[in-house]
């Protein structure tokens, strides 16, 4: 009786592991596809490169926003609206 239960538990564990492996493989497939699309669209090869690029773009965006705000205030003061 006990042995049967142990066998069943083991079989369940194996099935669960197989399921997890399948899920993991599917996620790996998605990751590979996302990386392929990223490379195709942006030329970036890895998640690390993408992270650096995002930081660069953030800093560039901040600079541009500051420049726009500065010029906007200048125009506002000049034309008094």
């Amino acid at each position: 009786m006990n042995l049967e239960k142990i066998q069943k538990d083991l079989a369940d564990a194996v099935a669960e592991t197989d399921k997890a492996k399948e899920h993991l493989a599917k996620l790996e497939g998605q990751e590979l596809e996302v990386l392929r699309q990223m490379q195709e669209e942006t030329g970036l090869l890895s998640v690390e490169e993408a992270g650096k690029e995002i930081l660069n773009l953030d800093s560039l965006l901040k600079e541009k926003m500051e420049s726009i705000e500065k010029d906007y205030n200048k125009l506002k003061a000049e034309y008094d609206w």
Partner: protein
């Protein structure tokens, strides 16, 4: 004979490809939704563009009529056999351009500056300024520098002076004219003489009745 590790590798590869396919399916659903929304927006934009086009056409027609009428009237009040003036909006090079047409006896004159003796262009350009002012209604003051320079016939100069005065009175616009023509000077409410004295411009009001 395929071994267990090979089967496991093939299985993993299969699952990875399934994962890729699932992702692409999800993306496809998203893109289809975006496409539907874009098509709806496109339909809205097309409707809006059609409305804007109708309004623009009607506005253009009104402006055409308003300006053509005003300039033709101005020409008729100065010349005994006046040109009819027509404003025509024509699409060219993806832009709307405006042609100024002078018509007499059913014939268009495309070279009014030279063949019309300049006087017609003088009166028409003054009337166009008034028309533009009446549309935009900016400050009620209009400066004109020698507006009848090419109008050599004194009778026409006198009629042009009357026209300026009538427009000024009816529209409540002050017209400041720079001229040395007697007819214009005589019709003015106020006259100022500007002369050069030792290199400095001096402005003096002239006693005027």
């Amino acid at each position: 004979m395929i071994g267990k590790p090979e089967i496991a590798r093939i299985r993993k590869k299969f699952d990875q490809e399934t994962g890729k396919r699932n992702l692409l399916k999800q993306q496809l659903i998203g893109y289809e939704k975006q496409k539907e929304e874009a098509l709806l927006r496109l339909a809205d934009h097309q409707k809006a563009r059609a409305i804007v086009q109708i309004v623009a056409e009607q506005t253009q027609k009104k402006i055409e009529y308003h300006i053509s009428n005003l300039v033709s009237l101005a020409l008729a009040s100065v010349f005994p056999e006046p040109y009819e003036f027509k404003l025509s909006f024509v699409p060219r090079r993806n832009k709307t351009e405006c042609d100024l047409l002078f018509i007499k006896n059913g014939k268009e004159n495309n070279d009014i500056l030279f063949t019309g003796g300049g006087g017609v262009a003088d009166v028409a350009s003054f009337a166009l300024r008034i028309a533009l002012w009446s549309i935009r209604k900016t400050r009620p003051v209009i400066f004109v520098d020698e507006p009848t320079k090419f109008l050599h016939n004194p009778a026409y100069q006198e009629k042009a002076s009357e026209l300026f005065k009538r427009i000024s009175d009816k529209l409540g616009v002050q017209i400041i004219v720079i001229s040395d023509q007697e007819a214009l000077i005589n019709s003015a409410d106020k006259v100022f003489n500007v002369h050069n004295k030792k290199g400095v411009s001096v402005v003096e009001e002239v006693a005027h009745t």
